[in-house]
Amino acid sequence: MVMDKISNSDIVFGHSQGAILVASLLSIHDKLRDVTNNDSPIAYVLNGVAWPNPYRESLQSLSEQQSTQTNVKSPSILFIMGKEDNINPIESAMQVYDAFKDGNDVSIVEHARGHSVPIGNDDDSIRALEDISDWIMDIAKSKANKFES
């Protein structure tokens, strides 16, 4: 059911365990890493992700897999990382980022707070929220413009 829902989405936003789930599924399902296939999301947001150790082999081999794939357009992935995240430390999130960074359009929004999605309750959080929303708007506009043309 999760895969069905993912297939019918444009963007998947995972938080914490939800983000770990998304990272795991991305590492084992080739079709989720190819947006030319219309059954897959075009973008993923991972907030407070941690290294999913049971899927370490598939994650570690991603870079190699992606270098051999041709005619594949990768999704855009945004990592949101809190410097004070003591539930899923930023170092663990960076491990996941490193697994995806080759061959993918990958970005990071870092903020000064902890594990939660930024809510805009201070200047840094407002800035982070702006960055996240701008990224999502770019994804939305690219899909809308594709339909217009």
Partner: protein, 144 residues
């Protein structure tokens, strides 16, 4: 005599103008209807003259699927934790929509969520998998 001639000319010109207008109206209405371009909140349409098809676009749905963390549920995640982000996105979306640029398509965000399958023992929501006590994703050997 002169006045009669002038008045007749005026009447003839008016009649010719009327015939032209009627003819033009008949021609246009026999083609596809004119659609006036609007910049409404809900749709963009384009103006094309007779002989060219008119295009109407509804807003394109941008479907965002939200997967919550351990504890809580999908609905709560979308309605609470994501509320500030959703509000900011809607504000930006409306700004883009109001610009009504011919080159940009209109879009709407459609938020969906799933709730994880495993209920936590303490009644504090749901999780996507179970693990033995003390085990975390980054040191687990398997998921259940």
């Amino acid at each position: 005599m002169h006045h009669f001639y002038t008045s007749s000319l005026i009447i003839i010109h008016l009649l010719l103008l009327l015939i032209f207008i009627c003819g033009a109206t008949a021609f246009i209405s026999s083609q596809r209807p004119l659609i006036i371009r609007t910049c409404s909140h809900h749709h963009h349409t384009k103006l094309f003259m007779a002989g060219v098809s008119a295009i109407t676009n509804d807003n394109i749905d941008i479907r965002i699927l939200c997967l919550h963390g351990k504890g809580g549920n999908g609905q709560q995640f979308v309605n609470s934790a994501l509320r500030p982000l959703r509000a900011l996105l809607e504000k930006k979306r409306l700004m883009v929509d109001n610009q009504c640029n011919d080159n940009d398509g209109g879009f709407s965000f459609h938020w969906e969520s799933l709730t994880a399958p495993y209920e936590l023992d303490d009644g504090g929501g749901y999780s996507w998998w179970t693990m033995p006590p003390g085990v975390r994703s980054y040191n687990a050997q398997e998921v259940r």
